[in-house]
Symmetry: C2
Subunit: 209 residues, 2 copies
Amino acid sequence: MSSNPTPFQTLPPIQNSRLSKQIEFLLEADKLKNIERRTHVSDGSRHENSAEHSWHFALGLMLFAEHAKAENLDIFKIMQMAILHDLVEIDAGDTFVYDTKAQETRAAREQQAADRLFGLLPPDQEAAFRAIWDEFEAKETEEAKFAASIDRFAPVLENYVTSGKAWRAHGVAVNQVEKVVGTELENAPALGEYLKEILVSAKEKGFLK
Amino acid sequence: MSSNPTPFQTLPPIQNSRLSKQIEFLLEADKLKNIERRTHVSDGSRHENSAEHSWHFALGLMLFAEHAKAENLDIFKIMQMAILHDLVEIDAGDTFVYDTKAQETRAAREQQAADRLFGLLPPDQEAAFRAIWDEFEAKETEEAKFAASIDRFAPVLENYVTSGKAWRAHGVAVNQVEKVVGTELENAPALGEYLKEILVSAKEKGFLK
């Protein structure tokens, strides 16, 4: 049984085997541009994808680093978390944060994806990238906690300014956002304060149940 | 004359004026997701946009940092260059690197865009972000030179694996890619060596003139 070659397989052979692995990973990662999230871009014209969300997350880190509750965070490491955090969705798909059922199986699906994707890398880079992703997932270090807060914040804005497009499509309620986003934003108090006002207004306007 | 409110203007008022400026910037930056480049995503299904390209560029930095000709680069700063480098396209549009005529007016258009966009930020962040972008644009420091090489590399791969889709659409020739990309890749020799093989093969296959 023959299958179509991957984009990587159509490239001229790469003599340097380390570089070959790196380029295969870079092209495989390109698929993240086609992973659609529930959230819309802020003009509401289409769903956003996980690659552009990862960029927006990294930009948010540059903007909001000063709002972290913890001091002396390693922002460079958190930016690397932002760049890597969603790659597993290439295999596991995007799991909507408010979909409780899908969340139950998320971790297992994503661990398997991480094995395959980071496994494309040279061993030292596999270990380094995987450690960053594992740290993000475990949400135990201050860096990972702050990362989670920024990861969640921009999508709330995007939802609000599109009149709650994704929230309404999935019947999301205020208390769900409080639980999922509000908890994370305890690590970025100024953002957490503003979230409360957004939620009051979103409820009034019918963007959230 | 009234115009439609921007997404930012539809948000509940933000009492903290510093946070208000930061959030306005983050939402304005969201428009980068709708700036279309000539390059296609690697399955050829659509053009890529500048936000997802910026993410892919940042990932490339993590992968290829070891291939920099210069030593002791500040990779964190280069990642910030990657995140910020294309924001000016929100006003100035994406200028195809092989469009000589448009390149003549690019710098002036992008400087004006930088004034407006970074001008949305609190003054200290405006100065910090603008300094990073100015350094990238000037291509004088080793960080900016290596950034330029990685910025150019993934699009070459994307073009090749889509059978030269954007190259063919715009009649690009081997010597143009050599000049525009090959020169930058002198700062990442292993990538520069591989570029030569890509160009030979792309010419043979008719992906490039």
